[in-house]
Symmetry: C2
Subunit: 310 residues, 2 copies
């Protein structure tokens, strides 16, 4: 097998300016992205499936305190951490998703278990937690998810009475999500998306991340997509599946489809954010309409890239 | 304004055979469908919006004990009633959705409030309930949702240890959902979908009904769609948005797009069910791949139809 393979990851998009970032912080982000990217890439190199590669990469990002997912999840209005995740596999079109879960170290792994061990696609809240218990998941204490910076942001948000979309002191202009897409040596694609939601969020709000079609989608006929951005707009735009449809029904290339969706269709409904995508030929696209997106890609043809700013 | 207008409704799809249905029961279903259809149609006739018409029609179906939505919702594994609903408006592409809510008489009205009164699209569980309280919703007792037949079905399901997708004694082959789509005199389309979920369901399972793009979608450029069926397949197929994409990107007619999605693409992934759809020219399509679908349509050009079987 010498077919091309590739992987791409993201750690959120938004108003990320170089002048607001210290050298240390920038290095920390790039190192974390590089670690996740290489873990996923190595899996592909060893002949593992795209599904395995995106799970490994996403788990690595979830375990980092830098990104708003898993360990780095932001505080809700109640001072808890509620996470959402979804995963999809392009050959079978099987998928799994969870929303509003707490205490799970790696939500993306739970999403995979929903896909593989339940008859359902989407489980939420207490029910999803019960499923996790039955599947033998261990639960982390609140301490595991505690981060001083996130706590301060929550306190500020509480005082200001606002809902922050991310860990940024710049309100509602940074979207904390992580994700990975990959094409393996067998031309299978897969996508994973995981998020810690919005700082100070109320009302059991669910964004696009756990919604197949909106924040995550994979289909061997077209592409795999993972999104990050203002979730409500990504839901209304059915963004991830929209990229797939432009390829399947309109014959666009991956790059053209991603550009059309992110720079035109999403902008038309005032949606901010970006996405990463691969197709079964191993092509990769990293597209965003914000100031920056934490992102990385690596292909078997030798391209490797880690980026933050536009 | 003399542009054509139309409305279509459904009350679920599945293995519905004439020989299993008494004359009385058939009449009851047809009467309930006819009442909901005419209430929605009258709203359109009076010049009201497609959004108002589909809400009125859906509320009427939710208030009937015959359909698995609102009052007629089935029992969960815990003996409670958990409902999901979504609504979308084709001009603005605004939408609202709720999942896993209890005690609300008309979930579709709550979905509309989410769309109009919150900054979010999708609220679940306790958070959605808190939002409803803040919006001044009154809560019905469990008694309101109690139905002897549904209770017996739950008891049977408990004994058998199965999850039933509907109120049918035939397991997992009838999908209880209600929905409405309409095109108003101003060529605006809108879609509503509401469900009581699966008998004996566990794990906070969410189906396609509250997922914009999957079980519900509306766009003035293309169509409005409401689905009913095996929810997991409708999620994986992103069914409602798929119909829209076939129209927008491939230039198919409403009828051809619905046929392609329900009879081919859904069948390819072994999905059972159906959908109702309208386009901004007032065309209507009622498409299903099951034995039957409770359905009705009425147009300003004089077509009126109520049906149950294939």
């Amino acid at each position: 097998m010498n077919t091309p393979f590739s992987i791409a990851i993201h750690g959120g998009a938004g108003t990320i300016h170089k002048h607001q970032m210290s050298n240390e912080k920038e290095l920390a982000y790039k190192t974390a992205l590089s670690t996740a990217l290489n873990k996923g890439y190595e899996a592909l190199e060893q002949g593992k499936s795209a599904l395995d590669a995106i799970e490994i990469a996403t788990i690595t990002l979830e375990d980092s305190p830098l990104f708003n997912a898993g360990k780095g999840s932001v505080f809700t209005n109640k001072g808890t951490h509620e996470m959402d995740a979804s995963i999809m596999e392009g050959e079978s079109l099987f998928g799994g998703a969870v929303a509003g879960i707490s205490g799970i170290r790696n939500p993306i792994h739970l999403a995979r278990k929903v896909m593989e061990e339940s008859e359902h696609v989407f489980l939420v809240g207490e029910g999803a937690t019960n499923f996790a218990k039955e599947q033998g998941f261990s639960f982390e204490s609140e301490q595991y998810f505690y981060d001083e910076l996130r706590y301060q942001q929550w306190q500020e948000a509480l005082k200001a009475g606002v809902v922050q979309l991310d860990h940024s002191p710049l309100k509602e202009d940074k979207f904390g999500t992580v994700g990975a897409v990959a094409c393996d040596q067998f031309a299978n694609v897969a996508a994973a998306t995981s998020t810690g939601g919005m700082t100070n969020k109320k009302y059991g709000r669910v964004g696009d991340s756990p919604m197949l079609g909106a924040g995550n989608y994979a289909n061997n006929k077209t592409c795999a997509v993972s999104c990050t951005g203002s979730g409500e707009f990504f839901i209304r735009g059915v963004v991830a599946y929209d990229v797939s449809c432009l390829i399947e029904y309109k014959g666009l290339s991956l790059a053209k489809a991603c550009e059309e969706v992110v720079q035109k269709r999403l902008v038309n409904i005032k949606g901010d954010g970006g996405l990463i995508a691969v197709d079964p030929q191993g092509n990769v696209c990293l597209e965003f309409n914000t100031e920056g997106m934490y992102r990385g890609m690596k292909t078997s043809s030798g391209t490797e890239f880690i980026g933050i700013y536009r």
